[in-house]
Symmetry: C2
Subunit: 383 residues, 2 copies
């Protein structure tokens, strides 16, 4: 059996995601759909609005066959690393095609990746973010605008695939209706961005979401209090105020003395200030909101370089759930697994390769009360 | 002018404390009453129920002339160190007498101190707390029972005074009515223990407290939500879950691998478990509740050996408030100060000698919202 892969966050699973699954099924009705999904903390530096188990269930009940967790050390990364880690897992699972949304599905991402091999941003521009200087260098090289978020991510997938021997066929799909950063819901449409959905939830517009998410997601939204940064903010604030800059320096992603600024700005704010208010006092041209938000997550989870090394040296496949087709595909993979396949967290693994994921789960649990790892078995959706 | 000293916590200031002040005034009507008071975290390992400024004000309005903060590094210590640090400050202030409550005011504490010089507990008894073995050794040596909490503290004061050259005259005063550990209010009396007062507050019996505290304390109790361990518990829990045992090991007071037990017991508890429930799962004969509670504070505040060293190497006198008599006494001391006198926290001192106090203030502020150090001036009570 062949498999088609998606790298995603499903925060939460909405009609746009469902549309993508349906497209894949119409093209490849017999193939297994494999999803690599962020766990409880996401690439852009925020907690997931619902935990990984709830979101995996949403995916499985909407046509996905196999859900793999992108470990927190692999996920809370700049886009290039995030993409690389996702592609690496899909390759290890023997997935032959990657479907991804793009603002310009007509671009030849594979060719672009070859062209920009070795291209780097100008790191000397100290008043700019590295990502911005990299984008400029890329555009100058290939002559096309790749500044849109999904195009950029597509290029990152293509580059990772190039670096990993082009084992996977890339299938960009034109994004429809909602834009990635859209914050408003359009009542003439049925697809909205995940951030518009979360924003409306936060503003109390819950019933209206029914039009933009599958029924199962809507039920989950009704039954759970969606998690956001403000839930973790008291913990992050406490952590930054009680840790010396010397110790903060060892947090993954800390650079250029920003630890002093993080702490100083925080000390000056009233206790009533929100996460977002703090971020805006810290943000600079060089340290963008997203980069700082990601750093805030690594501080919150106490992630250090050795946690990242553990993942890089010992990657694994962490199973969150499967359908009967997913199980069949998995059995095929298991005959000759490239990475170990983890179906449950043992006393040993929680202190070794799964240490960072386990810690992230414990922190997430402080807000939701739900155990994330111990005694959890992959979801079986065999209906 | 001469001064009489008290070492205390005022958690909160109650009628028993007022009675002691009145006794001192009747014996020494012209002397300055100097109090060394714990700040926002207390000797027995708990947060103060109201912040140090509120409690200093209560003291000043009830007859105390000068309130000095016992720094957090000097205060969150076993009784012997706590006593030593308090006596050291009083001596540096040139205080000539120390008044303290005792269950046996007839004991000759000065003589006892000389007798037990060099006496140590049997540290090899691994199933007992050190404090218990020390008490046994002391009783064996002097032939009197000093197991009652205030007698024990009196002996600790006497020992510290002995070690510091017996500069201070010791005046034990018979404790009346309430016992230290009493949890109930006795309606036929007007004095209750501070813990009985806090316990009744926690149970919602607020109006009844009017009989046991001066008016100003009662007003403060009405106007403030009293702080307790459960307020800080989510932060402590987060800290323990996200810190490796290897790093926890560097916390002041951590010993004998207890860091593993602290973490393991916590991981197994539901998120709904309270601080007290966790403590009871961790507690052993060797690690008593009080020792663990003190350890919980040093973890919460990230206190390490170098913080304690900073205090030991550079002790100081941190002024919280004074009356006109207190001011006069202070001017006398200032002519030839033994330790630097701190009236406000500067940008420099918050990063050097006051680092630990500043951090403790920031953590306390997370709960109350009130800044504890920056821009705070000593209270002047000149009426």
């Amino acid at each position: 059996m062949e498999a088609v892969g998606i790298i995603t966050e499903y925060n939460p699973f909405h009609n746009g995601h469902l549309y993508q699954i349906k497209q894949i099924k119409s093209f490849f009705p017999e193939k297994c759909i494999v999803v690599v999904m962020s766990g409880n903390f996401l690439q852009r530096g925020e907690p997931a609005c619902m935990d990984k188990w709830i979101r995996a269930k949403q995916a499985l009940q909407n046509g996905v066959d196999l859900v793999i967790e992108l470990p927190v050390t692999a996920c809370v990364q700049p886009a290039d690393r995030f993409a690389y880690n996702g592609i690496e897992i899909l390759k290890a699972l023997g997935v032959s095609k990657l479907v991804f949304g793009a603002e310009h599905a007509n671009y030849d991402f594979k060719a672009f990746a070859r062209q920009v091999d070795g291209v780097k941003g100008n790191f000397k521009k100290y008043d700019e973010a590295y990502a911005a200087t990299f984008q400029q260098a890329v555009t100058a090289k290939i002559g096309y605008d790749v500044s849109k978020p999904n195009d950029l991510l597509g290029l990152a997938y293509a580059k990772a695939n190039f670096d990993l021997g082009e084992a996977i066929e890339l299938i960009p799909v034109q994004r429809i209706q909602a834009n990635y950063h859209d914050q408003k819901l359009d009542s003439t449409q049925t697809i909205a961005s995940a951030s518009a959905i979360r924003k409306n939830y936060a503003q109390g517009n819950v019933q209206v979401l029914k039009s933009y998410v599958p029924e199962i997601t809507f039920n989950d939204v009704i039954q759970n209090k969606l998690v956001d940064w403000d839930d973790f903010w008291p913990l992050l604030r406490y952590k930054i105020l009680t840790t010396s800059p010397k110790d903060l320096q060892y947090i993954y992603g800390m650079a250029e003395g920003i630890e002093y600024r993080l702490q100083q700005q925080l000390e000056q704010l009233p206790v009533t200030a929100s996460f977002d208010e703090w971020m805006h006092t810290v943000k600079t041209k060089r340290f963008t909101y997203t980069r700082l938000a990601r750093l805030a997550i690594t501080i919150l989870l106490n992630l250090k370089q050795n946690d990242i090394n553990t993942w890089n040296n010992s990657p694994y496949i962490r199973l969150l759930g499967f359908t009967s087709r997913g199980k069949k595909y998995l059995n095929q993979v298991k005959k000759d697994p490239v990475f170990p396949i983890i179906t449950k967290v043992s006393k040993k693994s929680k202190n070794t390769i799964l240490k960072a994921d386990y810690r992230a789960g414990k922190v997430y649990q402080l807000i939701t009360g739900e155990e994330q790892d111990l005694k959890k078995a992959p979801i079986r959706n065999f209906k």
